[in-house]
């Protein structure tokens, strides 16, 4: 037993070395008997040999919460999102359904294809911002503020329509490649008093433990994610900010160019994995 193992056991007071060296579990992720792609060959140029869903890094009881959609607390948010989808708001007297009808049809693969290039703004756009765009320009309603109003449940509802479909990001549209480059630069840039980059944990040390946390590859295919810590849906940009805060750095604003670039890049890294929204994590 080496020193760091002893230290870890001391810190947590509980762990055995057997747990500390655990690899991602070999099980198959099925949700309501639908097989999910939770391990995928990585895209060309991807630094990791295989893309692995964060689900594989969680304990039995956390994993079980995702395999039965009834027990998944995130589904409360998805169902709330469905109500919002059908609720008229704004000056135009429209709901999402007024234009898009049945989301199971109209949104069938939408969530798996964002972020994508948005010609009007000359930037990438994610599901949250696309919803805001629709609210302002088509419904005459106010844009949701970050993580407020119906933003998380409606985003979860839209992405859930792509549940099981592989995440795909098209870098050939517009300036997506440039945003990818910027996102990559941020992914490897060390920040904060702890001097950590995204890659420090999620590329170089995934599979190891940071205290008692089993570090995943940090894939983004399950967002908004139901986190047991908050007992609520957590958006991707909230999670980005949380990670950056934990390096003890100032974190960028949600939907800022920096975080949009990071979304483009991390979504590319997660390509091939099924959309798991709402995934369940610790």
């Amino acid at each position: 037993m080496n020193y760091s193992y002893k230290l870890a056991a001391l810190l947590s007071g509980v762990l055995t070395t057997a747990v500390l060296v655990a690899a991602p579990v070999e099980e198959t992720l099925t949700v309501d008997e639908v097989d999910m792609i939770s391990r995928a060959a990585s895209a060309e140029g991807h630094p990791l040999p295989e893309v692995i869903s964060g689900w594989h890094y969680r304990t039995d009881s956390t994993r079980a919460l995702q395999t039965d959609s009834f027990e998944n607390g995130g589904m409360l948010g998805v169902e709330l999102g469905e109500e919002i989808w059908n609720t008229v708001e704004g000056t135009e007297g429209k709901s999402c359904a007024s234009c898009h009808d049945d989301a199971a049809v109209s949104m069938a693969s939408v969530g798996a294809l964002f972020p994508k290039w948005h010609e009007e703004s000359g930037k990438p756009i994610n599901v949250e911002l696309q919803i805001n765009d629709c609210r302002v320009n088509n419904m005459g309603a106010e844009a949701y503020k970050f993580d407020k109003g119906g933003q998380k449940p409606l985003t979860a509802f839209v992405k859930h329509q792509s549940h099981g479909q592989p995440v795909t990001v098209d870098l050939t549209e517009g300036d997506m490649q440039q945003w990818w480059e910027q996102g990559k630069e941020l992914y490897y840039r060390r920040t904060g008093q702890l001097n950590l980059s995204c890659a420090s944990c999620h590329e170089k040390n995934n599979g190891k433990y940071i205290r008692a946390d089993h570090l995943s590859q940090g894939n983004v295919n399950g967002f908004p994610t139901y986190r047991l810590k908050q007992g609520n849906l957590i958006s991707l940009h909230n999670r980005f900010r949380g990670c950056i805060r934990d390096t003890r750095a100032e974190y960028p604003a949600a939907f800022s160019d920096d975080l949009m670039a990071l979304e483009v890049y991390t979504t590319w890294r997660s390509q091939g994995l099924s959309v798991e929204t709402p995934a369940v994590r610790q």
Binding site: L11, L15, T62, R211, A212, D213, L228, G231
Partner: protein, 149 residues
């Protein structure tokens, strides 16, 4: 720079641990546990057996720990399980929940999810319609997260 596991563990020790029980914690005392049990049993001494308590060995987040109880019983009008009390010995307040069954339950089996402030024993006490009591307890290790908290 090659980030070793030791460095990782060192830098992460100061990460904040937040639970729904908040910061300053006063944990339940042995007297409180004993009183909660004797209030439930009316002073009767619980036996072991019949009652099975299921909890995970390790919970990676203390905010949502599955707990399940099963009591062997014919569940007839004359012989059934009235209730099962669940206690967490080292929570700020030991009471977690009390399940009430009836012959219409068919089986005395129920599950929920609970908050555990730290590694501790979870205790279940079953009250039978015939006046008997049974007790079971499990230890649940609650891990302290890194950034995930």
């Amino acid at each position: 720079m090659n980030l070793t596991r030791r460095k990782f563990l060192t830098v992460s020790t100061s990460a904040a641990v937040a639970t729904f029980f908040g910061g300053s914690r006063a944990f339940a005392t042995v007297d409180e546990i004993n009183k909660a049990i004797s209030d439930f049993t009316g002073g009767g001494e619980p036996e072991s057996g019949v009652l099975a308590l299921k909890t995970p060995e390790i919970a990676e987040n203390g905010n949502s720990v599955p707990v399940s109880v099963t009591v062997e019983s014919p569940m007839t009008d004359d012989d059934y399980v009235e209730s099962v009390m669940i206690l967490a010995e080292d929570n700020p307040n030991p009471e977690v929940a009390t399940f009430h069954f009836s012959p219409a339950s068919g089986e005395a089996k129920a599950s929920t999810r609970m908050r555990l402030a730290k590694t501790q024993n979870v205790v279940a006490v079953a009250k039978m319609s015939n006046g008997k009591f049974y007790k079971a307890s499990n230890n649940v290790k609650v891990t302290i997260g890194g950034c995930g908290g």
